[in-house]
Symmetry: C2
Subunit: 235 residues, 2 copies
DNA sequence: CGGCAAATTCTCCACTTTGGTCCAATTTTT
DNA sequence: AAAAATTGGACCAAAGTGGAGAATTTGCCG
């Protein structure tokens, strides 16, 4: 039995993992991501996943131990992709002006949230009520992503680019507008006609997020409670 | 077999519905709302619902025909509550200034979204990928709610209170920040420490939404494309 | 290059859950 | 009290679950 993906070296000679096995693992992982994002954890059967992957279902047990571990592996895989893309794209602008960094961040976030809608779908599926899976998700992937972002946000508030108030709350709002809306693309397309598969629509979303959250005409203090629109021509 | 809740009068003497039956229907409906909001449609079993309601599971078939119809009945019930509360509370301010109307709307929306988190949870569960249920949800409940709101939003844009851009998109963003965040309360509580069960947190959310989306310093034109923060001291 | 052991896949099974039906028993309404 | 409305219990077919082993590849050794 394997379970481990990053295969460590502990026993004397744990023979190399066969190539075909990483293929089936990959197939299972992407099938799982897709299936879970549609039906949620409870609503998705391992057989359905195996079928989508074109693989016999006992292989799930063999490669991932059980449904729960498969879910975690799938989530980890998709988050890794997302984070890598985000961090890499952000590194280029590390020493740009804070305001531009924010703008780049939003655009990048929107771009990848659209490329990989399953990520936010899965979050939405899990995050609405407490569970062990949610705790795990938060500890393993959400918090590590949030903390640095919130720190940057606080800086933006200090210089008056972002509106005052609880930075964590502010970030959640931005995330809701970006990832949340993109995850709900099917509904939004039907109700409003906006099709995020068209690049212009995606740009419009990013533009609006930036203009709404980072318009930059806020008093450059962080202590002030948000009350009404106050401006000070920081620009 | 009953099926119909609003019982019409077509046959000669369709004897009155018994009192105990409306009780079990009610119990089933609220159990269904709760269960579906947690597990989604596929992830919730009719037996689970019956158990929560303290009722024998074949009664679901008797009262609602099948799982799908039960889901629709539950969604309808919860939307009706929500809409009634929203409309009633809004009617009081019908001839206040547009800006105040917007403010009241946001606060009311946040308030009821918090009171009835199941509503937005169910939307999140269903809206992330196409399905017959989603189409039905949109036609029956979402669109009727959205259309008048978008109209008001356009007015707010015209007078410069709301930022320019596609009003439908703007509304979706606001909805994401209000209902979306409230539906994800468990996650947000763990990641950020913000507990929306505390009234102050709820107020802070409403305040921030208002200050971000209705700060009121936008050029009073609707044709302009959102590009960057522009202000014109409309106040 | 041949063979052996480990790694991987396939076949089959035992068990539970699920949505739904059927009909007898039990209230209610009239 | 009769008839309709409602409920309870037993039952079904289909689908879901994890798992045990046999069968088959594949990598590694000489």
């Amino acid at each position: 039995m394997n379970t481990d993906i990053g295969r460590g070296s502990d026993a004397k000679k744990p023979r190399k993992q066969q190539k075909r096995s990483v293929v089936t693992q990959q197939k299972l992982l992407s099938a799982a991501v897709e299936a879970f994002s549609e039906g949620g954890f409870k609503g998705t059967s391992t057989r359905d996943i195996a079928d989508r992957a074109g693989v016999h279902h006992p292989l799930i047990t063999y490669h991932f131990k059980n449904k729960d571990m498969l879910w975690r592996a799938a989530v980890t895989a998709i988050f890794r992709e997302f984070n890598i893309a985000l961090v890499k794209s952000l590194a280029e602008f590390e020493n740009s002006a804070p305001r531009q960094r924010a703008e780049v961040f939003v655009r990048t976030y929107v771009k990848y949230a659209h490329q990989q809608p399953a990520l936010h779908k899965i979050i939405l599926q899990e995050a609405s009520h407490p569970s062990e899976r949610l705790d795990w998700l938060i500890d393993s992937h959400l918090r590590p992503l949030f903390e640095p972002v919130e720190a940057s946000l606080e800086e933006l508030q200090r210089i008056g680019v972002a509106p005052p108030g609880n930075p964590a709350l502010l970030f959640q709002m931005i995330r809701g507008c970006a990832g949340g809306l993109l995850a709900l693309a099917p509904e939004i397309k039907t109700t409003t006609g906006i099709d995020f598969d068209e690049p212009e629509a995606l740009d419009e979303l990013a533009d609006m997020i930036i203009s709404v959250f980072f318009s930059g005409n806020h008093r450059a203090v962080s202590a002030a409670t948000a009350e009404s629109g106050q401006q000070s021509t920081t620009q």
